[in-house]
Assembly symmetry: C2
Homo-oligomer: 385 residues x 2
């Protein structure tokens, strides 16, 4: 039995190292119809004023404000034909009119309009460019497009946009004990959970995924998969086999093909993690335990993929008080799953081997290496899934 | 000019009415591979214990606990060959062993193991079913599947799952002033924003969308689109033309084809909304203004679609103090877009005609009809987009 990982790499160092091992993806132009959740590759500058014409803000009559001056309930002004034009909310203002008298303050008598309230120039008129002014930066490079920002792009008649290409990630699970869902359960075996959780987590990040299946603990088979992954994808993710003992085939395989840069990270859970480089591409070996694999995914892979598409928009984080005291380990960066109950952050702790831990959680908190205790009631920042 | 909507329908009444006009979608069986964000149509009962064998929780030696009783640093117990078996974390426990002594408390001498700590039966052993116990309800009908819950399903070797079918929604924009992005901007016209915002908001809800394009203010054309929508979709959404004045073609069209049930809702923004029934299907006319259309979408259509798929999982809501005092209108249910800045809810108010309002927001708060003032610093519930 090997005697441990030696010196563990700190979470921050591992994260920074990962950034150096991937490249920003290229840009591509796509139709606005397909833009949902993609990341803008350039700033969008408004080329059209919105509205690009003066609009009525109310139902009523477009007038020249000066003709209403002095009008009141007791002394209405009477406007002759051509001095007023009926208008509905949102309609373009007639060229020579500069205000709208709300219908409530008017009465029609044949061709004349009695106006019981004076309006000032511009009153009840939406000016040109009040929503969007030509030349302003509407959306910034790095923002992830949502239904609302796509609407803003449509207002500018932007039919194609330049976005970052989706990162392409190859993935496989390793281990003699891992069964595909087409196999029968026998003693000591478990079904492949990680390829489902990781593939779907990648899809939520708008990545393209290449599922390379399950590989047994055989060095040549593992090496073949790693090579296949580096050829087809921007980087290779795998789970299992990065621990010690029988499961160190990943270390040897990466060493044979390239370079092992990190083996063992000071995170909890998720220590047995490997960072390597093969064919100048990142190979990231996650732990085999489903919860450990996913927790490393959330704290290491998510920021990495955000970096690859230069995504700047923030993730959903909220703040809530802890429901109970938490004791953490000095020297280990900890990922702690929590659920939100009665506006409190309730830790979900069933151990890193429990696959149900994360399914019950709403998000997670991160506890740095130097924090030993978080007290009950203390406010913590929660990243929502 | 018509003189108003008459009596407005309250938000709650409108919402309840909408529920009566749609049906729950059918169930369908889909492969687990395609399950992301779908809604479970049935409870999932565990059929496999996880783990389904006893596992070592630590690296060390599997032993019979009784053989270590009395062991201490000063008085180690010496175990002969066959009384201990080397084991790594996660490996199946040998049948006759019931505990694991951590490697730190052992020393090997030839064939014997010196054990400097006593263990109790079950110590450092993960029991069968400790994560998932056969027979328990793992996931409930109505929960929306995420990467983590899909992992739980994989652990149970569930290759196909029964989910609610996606609602199918037909949509069109109406108005002579509405241009497609292929047309040139001229005085008084605006580009079709709503079909982009609404279609993408529907996609985020995992609906199937049928985009019926843009229809001019012509009754026969509108009627044709409504009929096409009711034939192809579970319900029809449209925007524009549900106001007064020139834009009442939607009211007349729905009246000709079926029944207008509500015209005008006491919400702000979003009053000019129509609820009708054609071919026994809901026709929901949203306001033409992009922000009003979307705000009604979020407060009326989102709950409706959640109801159609019997979705129970909560949306992301957070609580934060208001950055400033808000005055609302008694008798109107108000949708107020907010952004989160320095953990405060900052209202984003540029008027319902502004398309940028929602693009800048992180979510919204709802202010009921009977609330006139929300004070600065008051905690409000925010539904995140």
């Amino acid at each position: 039995m090997k005697q441990g990982f030696g010196k563990l790499t700190s979470f921050q160092d591992a994260k920074e190292l990962l950034y150096t091992l991937v490249k920003e993806t290229d840009n591509e132009a796509i139709p606005l119809e397909n833009a949902l959740h993609r990341v803008l590759a350039e700033d969008i500058i408004a080329s059209i004023d919105v509205p690009h014409f003066r609009k009525a803000a109310m139902d009523g009559y477009a007038v020249n404000a000066v003709t209403t001056f002095g009008a009141s309930n007791t002394h209405p002004k009477v406007l002759q034909k051509n001095k007023y034009i009926e208008i509905v909310t949102g309609a373009p203002m007639p060229q020579k009119m500069d205000a709208v008298v709300m219908v409530e303050y008017t009465e029609k008598y044949d061709d004349t309009l009695r106006c019981s309230k004076a309006v000032t120039p511009g009153e009840n008129v939406i000016p040109v460019g009040s929503d969007i002014t030509k030349g302003t930066v509407l959306l910034q490079k790095g923002s992830q497009l949502n239904p609302r920002s796509i609407g803003v792009l449509a207002s500018q008649r932007i039919k194609k946009i330049r976005v970052k290409k989706k990162p392409v990630i190859a993935y496989f699970s390793t281990g003699n004990e891992i069964l595909s869902l087409n196999e029968k359960l026998t003693e000591g075996k478990i079904f492949d959970i990680n390829s489902f959780t990781i593939e779907n987590a990648l899809l939520e990040l708008r990545c393209e995924t290449i599922n390379l299946g399950i590989v047994k603990d055989e060095k040549e088979a593992i090496k073949k998969k790693i090579l296949e992954g580096t050829e087809k994808a921007d980087f290779v993710l795998l789970s299992g086999g990065s621990s010690l003992g029988k499961r160190d085939y990943i270390v040897e395989s990466v060493q044979d093909l390239g370079e092992v840069l990190v083996h063992g990270i000071a995170v909890k859970p998720g220590k047995p993690t490997l960072i390597g480089k093969v064919n100048n591409k990142l190979v990231l070996g996650l732990p085999g335990y489903p919860t450990s694999a996913l927790s490393n995914f959330y704290i290491l892979v998510v920021p990495l993929i955000e970096r690859m598409v230069s995504r700047t928009s923030k993730k959903n984080t909220i703040t809530a008080p802890l429901s109970k005291k938490i004791v953490s380990t000095i020297g280990r960066y900890e990922f702690l799953a929590v659920k939100i109950e009665n506006k409190k952050a309730v830790p979900v702790q069933k151990g890193s081997s429990a696959i149900t831990t994360l399914a019950e959680a709403d998000g997670f908190i991160e506890i740095d290496e130097n924090t030993e205790v978080l007290n009950k009631g203390e406010n913590v920042d929660i990243t929502l899934f």
